[in-house]
């Protein structure tokens, strides 16, 4: 009996010892489009280079599909070793329930407070003074992407801002090109709405609604102008029979559509299609009118694991994700901005340089992931889906929107 026990114990010890050499960590994320997959492989390569194994758990179908799967796995007691989420309030309750690993010691050792720029990113990973996630990139949603081929085909100059784009839309349409590509999904329409708001209503009105959650501002004249602008924009997007954002981006790449309002992750698609900024396509942050960007983005969270080997490896991975070399290679592939201001991004292309410039000037806003709960965001996305795809009047949409803001949290 004792012999059997002994051999069992030795066997276990051996397994543990070998596990310490190479830990296999399952990492879930929803980076599945061409550009995104290229970016995540930078993480995987860096992690594999340390002698450990990156077990890729890609979940297709964007965050809306992947997040429920990730969260129910964590809640259901089958946690992965690490997972992507958008930092902000998505993981708030998971942290409160003690399901996510406290990374404060790693953060202190790595001096994250000093290197993460803007510091607001780290704040959104922090709850009660403890740090629970590693921000890996900054994504902003206020960009419009313009196809040079479409404009050359129509014999027009490429617009320099949103107003010029709207003015040129008729001629573009006459040349048989769809002016605005728009994936028919609520979150994309919500992004377009947000970008148009900043361009048309300006920062004060945007902050009044998104940060202070004032329903009066949402009922005010600035927002009336926004809803009318969106109602005009939806006419420019009629006939855009695509669902996924990368298919809409592809319409811009191939010149079938003039422009798309989409976050800076669209740049990865242009890169995969080997297009050159300024030659094949242009990008305008803040739609060319108000050059500010929000600082949403992706972060990695590490669910609590009872195995100390895995916990140690999780902390090792956390430190790796924010290390300078990995930050540079990942963000260049992803088209996003790095979370640390102390690294050399001179090899970045024109669009990213524009973004870096705005970041350095402090033209930043909190993202909707930070200001609104998932519940409120879903309600806004539902309203936008209804507004963009149907024939709801601008006044009705504004009234519903103001009601949502009144109950927002």
């Amino acid at each position: 009996m004792s012999n059997v026990m002994k051999s069992l114990l030795i066997g276990t010890a051996l397994t543990c010892a070998s596990a310490a050499q190479a830990v296999e960590l399952e990492v879930t994320h929803w980076w599945t489009s061409g550009g995104e997959a290229a970016a995540v492989s930078k993480f995987a390569d860096a992690w594999n280079a340390t002698g450990n194994t990156w077990l890729d758990g890609a979940i297709a179908g964007s965050g809306g599909t992947a997040r429920p799967i990730i969260i129910s796995r964590i809640l259901g007691g089958d946690p992965m070793a690490a997972t992507q989420l958008n930092h902000g309030r998505q993981a708030e309750e998971l942290i409160e329930a003690g399901l996510l690993l406290d990374l404060s010691d790693v953060a202190e050792a790595g001096g994250w407070r000093d290197i993460v720029n803007p510091t607001a990113l780290l704040d959104s990973c922090t709850l009660d003074g403890r740090i629970y996630c590693v921000p890996v990139n900054i994504h902003s949603a206020q960009w419009i992407w313009l196809s040079h081929a479409a404009y050359e085909n129509a014999g027009l100059a490429v617009p320099k801002d949103w107003n010029e784009f709207v003015a040129s839309a008729d001629e573009l349409q006459a040349a048989g090109t769809l002016p605005l590509a728009m994936g028919q999904q609520g979150w994309q329409q919500s992004i377009a709405f947000g970008a148009i708001t900043i361009a048309v209503a300006g920062l004060d009105a945007w902050k009044g609604v998104n940060v202070d959650k004032s329903a009066d501002v949402a009922r005010g004249p600035e927002y009336t102008a926004v809803f009318e602008a969106v109602a005009a924009a939806r006419e420019l997007a009629r006939g855009s029979n695509v669902q996924d954002w990368n298919l809409a981006t592809n319409m811009v790449i191939t010149g079938k559509a003039g422009a798309q309002i989409m976050g800076d992750w669209a740049q990865g698609e242009f890169a995969v299609a080997e297009q050159v900024e300024g030659v094949d396509y242009s990008c305008l942050p803040g739609l060319g009118l108000n050059a500010v960007l929000d600082t949403g983005g992706d972060a990695f969270y590490f669910p609590v694991n009872s195995d100390p080997e895995i916990t140690a490896a999780q902390k090792e991975l956390a430190a790796l994700l924010i290390s300078p070399e990995v930050q540079v290679s990942f963000n260049l592939a992803k088209g996003s901005l790095p979370v640390r201001g102390d690294i050399d991004m001179s090899s970045a292309n024109g669009c990213m340089q524009k973004g870096l410039g705005i970041l350095a000037d402090g033209g930043i806003l909190p993202s909707s992931d930070i200001t609104f709960s998932a519940d409120t965001q879903t309600q806004i996305e539902d309203l936008m889906a209804q507004f963009w795809s149907g024939d709801m009047s601008a006044a009705d949409a504004q009234a519903s929107y103001a009601d949502l803001i009144e109950d927002a949290d």
């Binding site: 129910s72 708030e92 998971l94 329930a97 028919q184 998932a374 965001q377 889906a385």
Partner: protein
């Protein structure tokens, strides 16, 4: 004689009832426990928590009827209910009619009957996700049917149901019928085969036409088969979800949203369990409202008869 022999038999009967088919009763205990715990228990739990303000995790923070008030104030929920009503009524009628007609045609002793049966039943072997994707492509104006007909030379041909909010539910209906009719046809065919040949001979002797025989004699005789089909179709309608997700994603806009999708999305994407539970409780209510009168008619009636 019988009066004398009856009284001593009665006390002996009682233990008999409890222990009769004892093995079968023991064997069915797991199923009974599962039904009670999973169906009744979880339903009760869901209904209880629909009165709370639970967000991502269930919490007992009571808010009364607030979740229900919000639910019935939400455009998306109202649209979902209307969509399900449209899909449900068309799907119910058309599946029954088409299923019966196909079965009646096959029942006329045509050649290659088994080949046709396989072809009609084949779509049922596919999952709703596959069906949804296939029909998304067929109905896509740039690659599918519209493009094919235009390439034949009919340039003005327009058939684009999935991108028009007014017709998208019919695009879903086409796919749903394509998938579901085969099964109903097979059930109907089995029912028709169960009708005695002599009935047909008698009808022929009386000079009743074929169609009239079906309508007046055969269909009333097939009542149990119709009830089975009805329950199968109704269950399929209420749980309509995967077809919508695969084919339209609820779009364009909210035009093809359904209640089951609302429940899933508010529970997990919006991280608002209370709202999702309230919506699923309303779905349960609608099923119960339909089920109770039906069960009363079906089982209550049989006892009286």
């Amino acid at each position: 004689m019988t009066v004398i022999s009856d009284p001593p038999a009665k006390p002996a009967k009682r233990p008999n009832l409890l222990f009769r088919n004892l093995m079968a009763k023991i064997a069915s205990i797991p199923m009974i426990v599962t039904a009670l715990v999973v169906f009744v228990g979880c339903s009760a739990w869901t209904i209880t928590y629909s009165f709370t303000g639970s967000r991502m995790l269930p919490k007992t923070k009571w808010v009364g009827l607030q979740q229900y008030e919000r639910l019935w104030d939400t455009d998306r929920w109202i649209i979902s209910i209307k969509n399900l009503a449209i899909y449900g009524s068309f799907s119910m009628v058309l599946t029954l009619v088409m299923g019966f007609c196909l079965a009646a045609c096959l029942d006329r002793k045509i050649r290659f009957e088994s080949a046709f049966r396989t072809i009609f039943l084949y779509p049922f072997a596919l999952s709703f996700v596959v069906t949804g994707l296939v029909w998304q492509w067929i109905l896509n104006p740039d690659f599918g049917l519209q493009n094919v007909v235009r390439n034949w030379g009919w340039e003005s041909f327009t058939f684009n149901p999935l991108n028009d909010p007014d017709t998208v539910m019919f695009g879903l209906l086409i796919a749903g019928l394509w998938q579901g009719t085969g099964l109903i046809m097979c059930i109907m065919l089995a029912g028709l085969r169960g009708i005695d040949e002599d009935i047909w001979k008698a009808a022929k002797v009386d000079g009743i036409g074929t169609i009239k025989t079906y309508v007046v004699v055969v269909i009333p005789m097939m009542r149990p088969v119709f009830v089975t089909s009805l329950v199968l179709i109704a269950a399929g309608i209420i749980k309509l979800y995967d077809l919508v997700v695969a084919q339209t994603g609820g779009g364009p806009g909210l035009a093809s949203e359904v209640p089951a999708k609302y429940v899933i999305e508010y529970m997990f994407r919006a991280q608002n369990l209370g709202q999702g539970f309230a919506a699923s409780t309303m779905m349960l209510c609608s099923v119960v409202v339909i089920l109770i009168p039906w069960a009363y008619l079906e089982f209550g009636g049989r006892k009286r008869g």
